[in-house]
Symmetry: C2
Subunit: 152 residues, 2 copies
């Protein structure tokens, strides 16, 4: 166990990173979101060793992000599909993608854009919203502990 105890401690970020922080996991998710479901397809598209892919898929299934389903009764075909929990990672994946687009490809153009399926226009940035719908930036955010130490 290299990773420190806080890996699974009382922090949502830490727990999330513990699941997705493995090298390759997010790539698998990206592929899953673009429709890949089969082991060999993941393997070819991502060009990672079968070993690693096995481990990553297993972990993602164990943690509930992907579901492994049997396709063919007589065959041994399986497919890996996003669970509801997995689908819910869309905002994270898109946010990361967008950040990469903006800062890592500047001034290049990213190879792929994400568009609205309805009108074909590029999607806007992922935003954080207040309860009243107002858009928030960092200064508009505040952390509040669940259990105040004094009487805050």
């Amino acid at each position: 166990m290299q990773r420190k105890s806080w890996a699974t401690e009382n922090c949502p970020m830490a727990r999330s990173v513990d699941i997705l922080g493995d090298w390759g996991s997010l790539m698998i998710l990206r592929q899953a979101f673009s429709g890949t479901t089969r082991f060999d397809d993941f393997q070819k598209e991502l060009d990672l060793s079968r070993n690693l892919l096995t481990a990553r898929l297993k972990k993602l299934v164990e943690r509930g992000v992907l579901e492994r389903r049997l396709i063919n009764e007589d065959g041994r075909r399986h497919e890996y599909v996003l669970t509801e929990m997995g689908e819910d990672l869309l905002t994270t994946v898109v946010a990361l993608r967008q950040w990469g687009d903006r800062w890592l490809f500047k001034p290049d153009l990213p190879p792929v854009t994400m568009v609205d399926a309805r009108d074909g226009r590029e999607i806007q940035q992922v935003h954080i919203h207040a309860a009243d719908g107002r858009e928030l930036t960092r200064s508009g955010l505040r952390l509040r502990p669940r259990v105040p130490e004094s009487a805050s």
Copy 2:
């Protein structure tokens, strides 16, 4: 070089993960967003080895996410502050946090909530928006290559 070539290839996700995917990097970012700037503060709050912290901070500075600044002229005090590029990771960090809250702490309560600084109410989920402001889910998204193979 363990990581495959696609680490720095033509994919924004891959490039992003290459910067943030190191174990601990996102934790450092989280701390940075909550106001930590000093080496020893990071070290105590995250409880990771000075070695690792040095490496992570260096990498984040090199990649342009953090900036290292001298505080005191005669002393050797430094501070690490988020660059604009780093600040722009807020949505990603929040999205990841929220996902952890929703799926990894259920039915527990997360230890900390994020609230609107103005009215103290909890923030809403991070959303993806279309050009017309409409909220999008996975089915409403489509990937479009920059270089169409045929004539799209």
